[in-house]
């Protein structure tokens, strides 16, 4: 298959999957795209939004559109790591001998929905760390690989904070993107009403298999990125660090910790998927600008002043991007240099 055919297949599959999801989900086009971007980039996505916006439904629909196994874990304070990973249980074979047998947990699925992940204790939350990063879990000293592609989609509620355990930075850093699900517009709300309050069954077709997704992940990594675009990505990430000598004022004032190198990786990978999905074979600066907020908003930790001032991280990241773009050589007038 030629490269053009591969790219064409990716574009068509991406659009088909999006169409299947949009059969159920009204609006949220950008959220759907970003979820797909996260999946094809090989990362995990955290969706944050108030209840009732269709986060869980979106993920369930996505799972229905893929020929992949799907698990859902409703995180609660009494949830234990073994409830996620699995445990060894004593079983008796046909000869009457007893032995331990690993009973896999719900994490052993291609798509894992961690619903309201911030309601579980940090101990339970940390049970996902190894699986999200290494795509394997260790139980009883034995490391067990997770099925590929492994894709965690987590949701959390930003307003009901009582009885919740905010995700630690290490856990947050493992999410490729963090998406903020916002209220639908009135037209979308009308469509939601029409679609969900009538006797009408919607069938979601499976348009993609696991190997196809893995193939697309490899294709995504082949997308070239020019040196100056890569430099801009690095500059954006570095500009989130208050210690950096060229950091903008807003960063120096309101940020305690900036994005990690995972942030730069996530930014470039997501930009590659976006470029490919739009039919381009290269990453552009516009891709970086569009994906800077989802890739970096959960990696920037505000300091006390930032929290006290109620600084919106998205706004901060936007300013950081603007400053990095302005400082980048690509925006300077060349003939006076």
């Amino acid at each position: 298959m030629t490269q053009d055919a591969r790219v064409e297949q990716f574009i068509s599959s991406f659009q088909a999957l999006r169409s299947e999801v949009e059969k159920v989900i009204v609006g949220h086009r950008e959220i759907i795209d970003h979820v797909l971007i996260g999946m094809f980039a090989g990362g995990h996505v955290l969706l944050e939004g108030v209840p009732g916006l269709g986060k869980t439904l979106l993920i369930k629909t996505l799972a229905e559109g893929l020929e992949l196994t799907f698990s859902r874990i409703q995180f609660t304070p009494d949830l234990m790591p073994a409830d996620i990973i699995g445990t060894n249980i004593i079983v008796e074979d046909a000869a009457g001998r007893k032995h331990f047998q690993f009973q896999s947990g719900p994490i052993f699925a291609h798509i894992l929905l961690a619903d309201e992940i911030n309601r579980a204790t940090p101990k339970t939350q940390s049970a996902l760390l190894e699986g999200m990063q290494e795509a394997s879990v260790t139980v009883g000293g034995a490391s067990r690989p997770l099925p590929m592609p492994f894709f965690v989609l987590a949701t959390q509620n930003p307003i009901e904070m009582e009885g919740t355990y905010p995700l630690p930075e290490a856990q947050l850093d493992r999410f490729l993107l963090k998406l903020r699900v916002r209220y639908p517009a009135i037209e979308e709300l009308n469509a939601i009403i029409d679609r969900t309050t009538q006797v009408r069954s919607v069938a979601v077709n499976r348009v993609m298999t696991g190997p196809t997704v893995m193939g697309f992940r490899e294709l995504v990594r082949e997308v070239p990125i020019a040196a100056h675009v890569r430099d801009l990505a690095s500059a954006i990430v570095m500009a989130t660090h208050p210690q950096w000598e060229h950091a903008p004022t807003v960063t120096r004032r309101f940020v305690r910790y900036g994005a990690s190198p995972r942030g730069a990786q996530a930014l470039v990978l997501a930009a590659k998927v976006k470029a490919l999905a739009e039919g381009r074979y290269n990453v552009s600066t516009d891709d970086l600008k569009a994906l800077a907020a989802p890739a970096l908003r959960h990696r920037v930790i505000l300091n006390f002043e930032g929290e006290a001032e109620g600084i919106d991280v998205d706004t901060l990241v936007e300013q950081v991007v603007d400053s990095a773009v302005a400082a980048s050589s690509q925006n300077k007038e060349l003939f006076v240099r």
Binding site: V229, Y281, S284, Q330, L334, F335
Partner: protein
């Protein structure tokens, strides 16, 4: 994969546009600086003559050409040009990425697809001017030097100011003197100068040479004349002359003992000088031990002073003294001299009173010398020379600290101490004060500074900065401080 011609062509097109924009940019800057430089030869048109205008035009042209050449010669990288093309033609970094990755040996298979896609899109591009013109900052100021240059070129030549140093040479001075010889004020100067006659003083001690009124001729033996009415002083400042002739004055300055005591000349009275001399003459000796020669010289000086004043009231006494001295009667000569001294003093007092001039000790407040209960008996008590006088608290002053000196009373700074003396009983050396000055605590540690001040006091006394009348009082004051 080699670059396709379409990509290279677009890059070349952008490069050319960038070069010309640079040429415009730097050309404008060059015109500005060239115009600025062109003003200079136009200002110096009187000096440069007909070459000024061509030179100005040449500078203007050279500036512009240099700017254009500089703009054209600057290198434009292909990556920069590709980025401009990506941005201006909406290529979404396709061109720059294709150029970047197309040159690499190890590249993913998707790069070839990218290059092909970039070529297809570039071939569809309609070439146009995409590089914006950036006007340099100098451009908005360009009309100023250009207008100035035009005005200078059209207007008459600006005369240059004469900036010549004054001629200090003697020849120049003489020449100028000749040019201005017809002036009435310089007639005297044109005349040959009469050399000042140097006469030996009648007495070896210069203190005896009484200076006349201002403007009078220099007294014989008074070397201060070299600073004023000399031929050198009448000439213009001439450094060379000073080096040659001024050495005489420098040599005279080295003879400190021959320099006039200007202070004594202007402050001492005739009587005081004669009295001082007579006291030195006696030197604590008995009359039979006094040198007749010295006594004769003193009497002659008194006689001369009397003739000079024209009111020789003591001439008779001096004559009697001379006769007694010739007869070998030194005692009688001394008495005659004393009488002459008394008359001299009386005359001086009378003349001072007539001018309403009174010294610091001649106050008419009832506590002064004239109205004092004591000290009227002898001439020594009536007046005093240096080293003598009324000590504090010895009857000549009602104040335990004595009368203020002339300097203290005359200077407003000495009396301008903030604060006022506190009320109530106070010791003689009490320095506590009330008022604004009294509220300000001292920032110095008393014991840490008293030693320094005591040493400074002793140094001041040693250097004779303090009148002797107050030495004892000052030492008593510091002694009292130590006792506290």
């Amino acid at each position: 994969m080699a670059h396709h011609e379409a990509l290279d062509r677009l890059v070349r097109e952008i490069t050319t546009q960038v070069r010309w924009r640079r040429a415009e940019h730097y050309g404008l800057r060059g015109v500005f600086w060239g115009a600025l430089a062109a003003v200079v030869p136009l200002l110096l048109r009187t000096m440069l003559g007909p070459w000024a205008l061509p030179l100005a035009i040449a500078l203007l042209t050279a500036g512009a050409l240099a700017g254009v050449a500089w703009g054209l010669s600057k290198r434009v990288s292909a990556g920069d040009a590709a980025r401009i093309a990506d941005r201006e033609f909406g290529l979404a970094d396709r061109l720059s990425t294709a150029l970047d990755w197309g040159q690499r040996d190890e590249r993913p298979a998707l790069v070839d697809t990218l290059v092909a896609d970039a070529i297809a899109r570039v071939e569809a591009v309609q070439f146009r001017q995409v590089v914006r013109r950036i006007v340099p900052r100098e451009a908005k100021w360009l009309p100023a030097p250009v207008a100035l240059a035009v005005v200078l070129a059209l207007s008459p030549a600006v005369p240059l100011p004469r900036m010549a140093l004054p001629d200090f040479s003697p020849a120049g001075g003489r020449e100028e003197a000749r040019e201005r010889a017809d002036g009435p004020m310089l007639e005297d100067r044109a005349r040959p100068l009469v050399k000042d006659k140097q006469q030996r003083p009648a007495f070896e001690e210069r203190d005896w040479a009484q200076r006349g009124a201002s403007g009078a001729a220099a007294t014989a033996g008074d070397l201060s004349a070299i600073f004023k009415d000399t031929s050198l002083a009448n000439q213009r400042p001439d450094f060379n002359s000073f080096l040659k002739k001024g050495d005489e004055r420098l040599k005279m300055l080295e003879q400190m003992d021959r320099l006039p005591d200007l202070q004594s000349d202007f402050t001492s009275s005739q009587y005081k000088m004669v009295f001082k001399k007579s006291k030195e003459l006696r030197g604590g000796l008995r009359p039979d031990q006094i040198s007749p020669q010295k006594l004769k010289e003193l009497l002659e000086e008194m006689e001369r002073l009397g003739r000079k004043n024209g009111n020789n009231q003591w001439g008779q006494d001096v004559g009697e003294g001379m006769e007694a001295l010739e007869g070998g009667n030194t005692d009688k000569a001394m008495e005659a001299m004393q009488k002459a001294l008394d008359k001299m003093r009386a005359q001086e007092d009378a003349s001072r009173g007539g001018k309403n001039l009174r010294g610091g000790r001649d106050r008419g407040d009832g506590r002064g010398r004239d109205s004092g209960g004591r000290g009227d008996g002898s001439p020594d008590d009536q007046d005093f020379a240096e080293g003598e006088g009324s000590f504090a608290g010895k009857g000549k002053s009602g104040s335990p600290k004595g009368d203020p000196t002339q300097r203290l009373r005359a200077s407003p700074f000495d009396a301008g101490v903030e604060g006022e003396s506190r009320r109530g009983k106070k010791d003689g050396y009490d320095t506590n004060m009330t008022g604004r000055g009294g509220k300000m605590p001292s920032r110095l540690t008393y014991m840490g500074v008293i030693g320094q001040y005591k040493k400074a006091m002793e140094d001041a006394i040693t250097r004779e900065q303090i009148p002797r009348d107050f030495h004892g009082q000052i030492k008593d004051y510091f002694q009292a401080l130590d006792e506290r």
